[in-house]
Amino acid sequence: MGKMHIKLTVNGKQEELLAEPRELLIHVLRERLGITGPHIGCETSHCGACTVDMDGKSVKSCTVFAAQANGANITTIEGLGNPDGLHVLQQMFKEHHGLQCGFCTPGMITRAWRLLQENPNPTEEDVRFGMAGNLCRCTGYQNIVKAILAAAAELNAAKEAAQ
């Protein structure tokens, strides 16, 4: 029951590490790779604070073993934007007050990013249904939904302008 050689692509960067199979993806990201954007919230696959994108799927990284993720392509909030160049979703969360304490926000935005790729023109209902795996205890969701709809409009306008 030794350690395993694990390869991951995280935010475009190849990572190789030795980990026990029982280590959870969230622990590998935070403690071994120093990627602390995804948060540990409930640790029971309910709250979505640990959401990362794994091979094109939004997953709760507290409920994925590092061994299962071996070979996967992972995107976290760090891969979407940074303080000097915010992603449109981050900008819209800021403008529409889509966060207060900010604990759920990395998971929210990483999930919303995948949602908007699958459905670039969501209705409010689509957003609420598609974000149902992420809990926020501060905002009451109104402004989160507004921010995601605003980001969708902004991204679509940018796409049209580029054409």
Binding site: R22, E43, G48, T63, F65, R111, G133
Partner: protein
């Protein structure tokens, strides 16, 4: 919340997975999406020394619709089932039910095979498969065998599958007529307080055939033959639906828990069945 130590295996064939389950016996568990097993391992309520991950087995993926028969690979996720247009056309009740399971993140990894094989009375797919009269294909050391969904569930977490077998696919005849899956849950991500799967075929205005199954109202799903029979030959009017609900109630055996007392669950079961019959009838 860190599980105890285990060895991890990722076989690339059903035979390889069965060989590992056979070799390690009680110490091994197969894992699909893992959203039932991993929480139990984290709580150390499930002790696993050898985890056999099925994600590398390509033959357990895919959906085929051929000659009126639908076959679904056990490793198809709920997200993939929802997105599959051929499946939505052949058996739209699968999409309707899948959309009511858990939340988006869980649906990306949760599989139909895990949902069916785990034997959790709270899972939605077992009742749905009983409603569809599906057949499960199990692979074991002596080859494959088939078990009807209506014969598969013995008690909570006890099924006809033995420890060295893997549920590899499920097969059913594409349903005709109207359908509905109605589920009452306290919140997103919760299991059903009560749920009903209903199929209805009509001949003119008369109900010609039905199938009805209830979820999370006993220690197994409940296929309600008598409730379905109460509708056949009727115009699906209020008295027929009342008779179907009355025939369903003695077949369920809900237990009091944090979703409510027994009487409440029976009440909700009746409401879900009534709504499902009405909606299925409107689509038939």
């Amino acid at each position: 919340m860190i599980p105890s130590r285990f060895d991890y295996h990722r076989p690339d064939s059903v035979d390889g997975a069965v060989a590992l389950l056979t070799k390690y016996g009680d110490e091994a568990r197969a894992i699909a999406g893992g959203h039932s097993l991993i929480p139990m391992m984290k709580l150390r309520m499930a002790e696993v020394q050898h985890l056999v991950d099925l994600q590398g087995i390509d033959s357990m993926k895919g959906v085929s619709v051929a000659g009126g028969t639908v076959t679904i690979g056990a490793m198809m996720t709920q997200h993939e089932l929802i997105a599959n247009e051929a499946l939505a056309k052949a058996a739209p009740i699968i999409r309707e039910a899948s959309l009511q399971i858990a939340d988006p993140q869980v649906r990306y990894v949760g599989t139909i095979g895990g949902n069916l094989a785990n034997g959790d009375p709270g899972n939605d797919m077992p009742g749905l498969m009983q409603c569809l009269d599906a057949t499960y294909v199990l692979a074991g050391p002596d080859g494959t065998r088939e078990v009807a969904a209506r014969d598969f569930y013995e008690a909570a977490y006890f099924t006809a599958r033995s420890d060295d077998e893997i549920l590899v696919s499920v097969r059913f005849t594409a349903p005709k007529g109207g359908y509905a899956y109605e589920k009452q849950k306290r919140k997103i991500g919760d299991y059903a307080t009560a749920a009903a799967a209903v199929l209805i075929e009509k001949d003119g205005a008369t109900c010609a055939a039905t199938s009805i199954a209830m979820t999370n109202l006993s220690d197994t799903p409940v296929w309600c033959e008598a409730a379905g029979a109460a509708l056949v030959g009727s115009k699906l009017d209020k008295s027929a639906i009342d008779a179907a609900v009355a025939a369903m109630l003695p077949t369920i055996d809900p237990q009091e828990d944090n979703r409510g007392p027994v009487e409440f669950k029976k009440h909700v079961a009746g409401v879900m069945l009534r709504r499902a019959i009405e909606r299925a009838a409107s689509r038939a």
